[in-house]
Symmetry: C2
Subunit: 190 residues, 2 copies
């Protein structure tokens, strides 16, 4: 998605060969106009997959899921990283290892919100090692539903997550794939 | 907002006189069509306040802020509950006591995203004791900016937060105010 790549070049900050900050428009301060276009792009890419629900993970996935859900006119659900006292009844859980925070955490979705006949589109801001996605696809699998698509804003193509997820046969679409980045610039995959 | 009250009656679950679950449409599974209408209602209520930015708190505020920001065509920022390793530089922080989780936590916003000339609209899903709002208005104050409005989806009118915030002179608008709830039903303020 040309507009996202241009925005990454203009407003992103390459902190190291691994870390890209996009906190001015994607995951701390958020530009709703760009987000709406991202949601519509995911609709274009996945509109033939029979999507019934969007799934993401708190917190940075929620804005993306909001506009994607709007484009599809379906509800979305976000997996919670803390077990809330306010979630009652049956839950689906999975364990995710976070490299950013250097620890493992449990993600939780109320069972009633993913049904066996759902065709789920998972969306998130970043794909690097794919740990969060493994947790989300695991939850969809536990629910007996189908992960009909995975939509990512920025894939770190130099890390192994994207390759592994494609090898498993998922329909993965990343709006911008970075093959290399350093202080001299960012190289996107064609 | 009639449509929100009707949805609360239809799909909300009164767990006790204090706890209302709206996780099927507001804060776990989310209905984007209702959210868009909520965003447009906040625009109607605050359009004369010269709003330059929306502020909320992760996680359940993010979907509301997304559609409110879209209605205003301004960016939004969400305060983080964990100090991310990826936030660099100067941050504004405040301490919030959570009754839901029974502990205190720190909320953080990068200083660069709230400037002294900003007129901030704070939005959130619930207002009960007003602890999260106190933290958010504190952060706006630290930034030297103005809290020009506070938009809440559901106010628990039987708790003290709303009254205290109105007494401080803030322009607070709650789309649904619950004066009383129990197993026999929910009473909304006119």
């Amino acid at each position: 998605m040309k507009k996202l790549e241009e925005r990454i070049v203009r407003d992103g900050k390459v902190i190291s060969q691994d870390i890209l900050k996009v906190d001015s428009f994607l995951n701390h301060q958020i530009d709703p106009v760009l987000m709406k276009e991202i949601g519509e792009e995911f609709y274009r890419l996945f509109k033939d997959e029979g999507i019934t629900k969007i799934l993401t993970i708190e917190a940075s996935g929620i804005a993306i899921a909001s506009f994607t859900a709007m484009a599809f006119h379906v509800p979305f659900v976000f997996a919670k990283k803390a077990k809330s006292l306010n979630i009652d009844g049956d839950v689906l859980t999975s364990t995710v290892k976070s490299f950013t925070y250097g620890k493992e955490y449990t993600i939780t979705v109320a069972k009633k919100f993913i049904r066996p006949d759902d065709r789920i589109l998972i969306v998130d801001d970043f794909l690097a090692n794919g740990m969060a996605l493994n947790g989300l696809t695991d939850i969809v699998h536990q629910a007996g539903a189908v992960t009909a698509g995975i939509g990512i804003c920025i894939e770190k193509g130099f890390q192994k997550g994207g390759e592994e997820i494609r090898r498993k046969g998922y329909h993965l679409e990343s709006l911008a794939i970075i093959d290399k980045m350093d202080e001299t610039g960012i190289t996107f995959r064609d």
